[in-house]
Amino acid sequence: MTHGLPSILVIATVVALALVPHLEAAAPATGRVSGSVRQAGTEASVRFAQVRIEGAALTGRENNQIIQKIGADGRYRLDVPPGTYELWAAAPDHEEVLKRVELSAGAALQVDLFLPPLPVSPYRVETVPLPRQMVGELSGVAFTPTGTLVVTTRRGEVWIRGANGNRWRRFAAGLYEPFGVVAPAEDEILVIQRPEITRLRDRDGDGVADEFHTVADDWGITGSYHEFSYGLARDRAGNLYASSGLCSFGRGVELPWVRGPLQTAQYLPWPGPGAVPDGHRSVARYQGWAFRVSPEGRFETFASGFRQPLGVGISPEDELFISDCAGAWVPTSTFTHVERGGFYGHADSLKWHPDFKDRRLTHTEITALRRPPSVYLPRGVLGTSPGQPTWDTTSGRFGPFGGQVFMGDVSAILTRIDLERVAGAWQGAAFPFLRGGGLRLGGMHQAFGPDGALYLAQTVRGWMPTGGNEGLQRVVWNGSDPVEVRTLRLSPRGFTLGFTVPMGATAGNPDHYRVQRFRYLHHPVDGSLRADNIEVPVTAARLGADGRTVELDLLELQPGHVHELTVDAAVTDRAGHPLLNRVAYYNVNRLLSGETQPGPTRLAAARPAALRPGDPRAGAEVYRQNCLVCHQADGRGSREAGTPDFTLPGGIRVKSDAELFRIVAEGRVPEPPAVNPMPPWSNVLTEQSIQDVVAHLRTTYGAAGR
């Protein structure tokens, strides 16, 4: 599998000394640079490659550039005025290559460009075959202690595959939208369906469940299409944990058949003008709550304040963690250590809180009541709707991340989380782990198998096109070390990075690390922009003697902020291999001292710089990190994601830069043939990054009128 993030720039200077000079009397006004584009090492042709030449001599052209697509012959030819240029070649799944070219009038220069393939991840994604009669809307996956694979489908079935074979059998059918499963024993399978937690047993030994014991059904349900019961997790004592998402009530659904009481008015009425921006409400009892059910079947509410808490997981130390999806009161998706009695942000669940249901808390009081998430998952880079957290307990069979958390997402992203206890509370960093490379959408439940692979149950029905996007995949490690930031830990003056392999000397250069910090706003608006976004200078980087750690000192460290770390592509291991992922988000809720309140800042005087003109090269990197999964490396879009083809006439070509900026920043409803809305990115990307990505789109796919 190749990876889409890092880019190493191979820079060389080619001085054009008129290797094949034209000797005609009237020297032409241009020179020519031509050559081939091939894969480094193999010299194989590269699909969808293009070259771009850029220089001041091209003033008057969009972004001072000419872009040429490489055809089947693998060759390019550019006639340009004399001058100094940067010549780029790029192709999907390959590093970009940049050469500096000086060209005089009449010169003809041959420059062959060799693109190194992107670093190959030692993790590959495999699709697990499913029985042909199963509609692969997989909503849950678990393994029994003896290695039997158990999956649930949203159509209400439970299927089992024995540890020693590929034969599947249908263990149960007729359940109502199961959304998670645990299998603590061969003869004890527990499923959460929309109305209840159910224990399934096969009493007569015919291989099919014939007893469906209701373990718990104490929360309310309304019948709304968007109202899910999530889970399921089990601790070592046998307690079960689950949660209930809010009901999508924005359009005023008729709900005549509600289980339990119905409260449609919001706990804290929407204060703003216009329609409520997020229609998710806790209209039935305990929607937006997490529950615990004892082994004896005693139901108790456990914590409140969730929106769509679809990832419910128990750590190896039996602590409950929940991931929640961005929206009102959840500024971006979160991953949170959930403690009994805690309130985690969404106001509407307080309707059912014994202490607060009759006290109308204010916005300020609600924010004060809220416990912060352990980790924030910035929208886009780390997905949109995170799934079930799963701890790597494979004793090294999944690679060097033992004890860390892996979490899928509705989008085709697998996130890795490194947690640490700081002053008694869990917090830590989130990393992108896998994107693209055959990883499908909808991976919201997962489990490590007896083979050490991570199995992902995938379903997207109702949100994205289902064709080919659903089913069961597994992520397999090939045994070689990935070059990664393994851990990101808080230190007294900044952060300590732990690497998976010894790093080269470039890792000791503070200029190769960029840290930005920002806050998210806790409010009833649908999501939050980055607030107080500011760069924090890295003042020192000390590479450990073994090359496996780097201590970064920051000019200052303030609690209450997310810290975004970006490592430069120049940081490589000792053999020159770049990092597979170069970005991480550490949520500094508290300092090592236990301090949670930000102090006076020395950075306050810094003002955000005025916007520069868009830089298409920087934009290409932004595109690769954020846009590529849906829009594809070649810009042709994807039927699966419902994204448009940028290369067609019309479309983005007839839009102004300002229009494109607004679409990227604010999102928009789909324009046929696209079918999915474009999400707003202004809460993920800086204005400069959006400016850059627009420049990239413009230079790659053409301007208005072309």
Binding site: P131, R132, Q133, M134, V135, G136, R154, R155, G156, A173, G174, L175, Y176, Q193, R194, P195, E196, T198, R203, D210, E211, F212, H213, T214, D217, I221, T222, G223, Y225, W257, V258, R259, R461, G462, W463, P465, T466, G467, G468
Partner: protein, 395 residues
Amino acid sequence: MPPLLRTVLVLAAAFSPAGAEPLRVALIAPSAEVAVLAALGATIEDGGLVRISTPSRADALLILRGPGAAAAETRTLLADGRPAVVLGAEPAAWNDAGGFITERIGAIRGAAFAGGAPLRVINLFAHPVLTGVEAIESDEAVPAWTKLAEDTQLIVEGITGEETTPLAWVRNAGSGRIAHLVPTSPALLTSRDYLRIVTQALLWTARRPIPGARPVVQRTFMPESHPGAFAITFPEGVGVCLDPVRGGVNFAWDGDFVDLRPRWLTKQGAPARIFGSVFYSERAPRPLRAGAPGANSAWRFLGHGLRDGTPEFRYDVDGREITEALRALPDGTGFTRTLSVAAGKSPLWLTLEEQSNAEVIVEGASRDGNAVAFTSADAGSFRVTVRRRGTALSP
């Protein structure tokens, strides 16, 4: 004897219980397909279904593609309500300018589904015709049938990419039943599961019992019910909606199938669809109570199961555990509720509601109008029989 033939013989013998009149089946195909159908028909004839050559005397027709030269006679029989199973209908084989077969089958034949790509998923729904069938395996290109009539019951669906296509359906077409199976590859026509479907479809269309058919319990979103209600469909031809939140049978209908696709195939979802008329309904909350009919009894749903194929539902009413077993009447005209009551708070009250289309008989408990009392504090049971009005009560 070849293993497949032996399998079919054993299977067919099961369809021919001692004393029952064997089903007489006439085989109909265009001349070019007669040999193919005869091979299939031989296996039926070797078993319990009797192959006869005169369609007008047949209990059911088995038609491959269409009747060819015998189109006029066959159309007349179908128009008169003769049960039929059609395999891979070809409108051209019906000499059918008037669209008779389209109207009769209840769908329009189109071009190859998904451009002829193989079916990625072949999904079987819970219908008596598919009793005992685990899977259908076929890589053939199938035609896309569209515009299914309102009363068609889709029982097998194919999926490729984003597209779904009907592969098998049944319907009550006026007075007679008809079934249509779309795939007909040569390998399928000799496969055990396919022959089983064909045989069971013949029995179903002729309203004969399907041996081994069991009640099906599906939890879903039913009309006029709390979410998570149960649809219990009996092969005898009766369906019951049991609502564990309200605590009783919300309604019962004439039917052996419930279509869950309205919930599955759209984001917004819709209640499951039933076919057939409702003959029994209740609305009042908590019909089972302990102490007095209006007592505010604690209620808890404890779960459900299948005991020897009989659906059972368990409740706790104020500390008294009840197990309710649901069975269809053998003639499909109604159902029984057998409530096995553990020792506990007495009396246990069941409140009935007036029914205009059903008669309700209570045995083993006292009844005063719509109030039924099980007065013993000891363990025991009582039975409620619900029978559609207009059918004779058996002694």
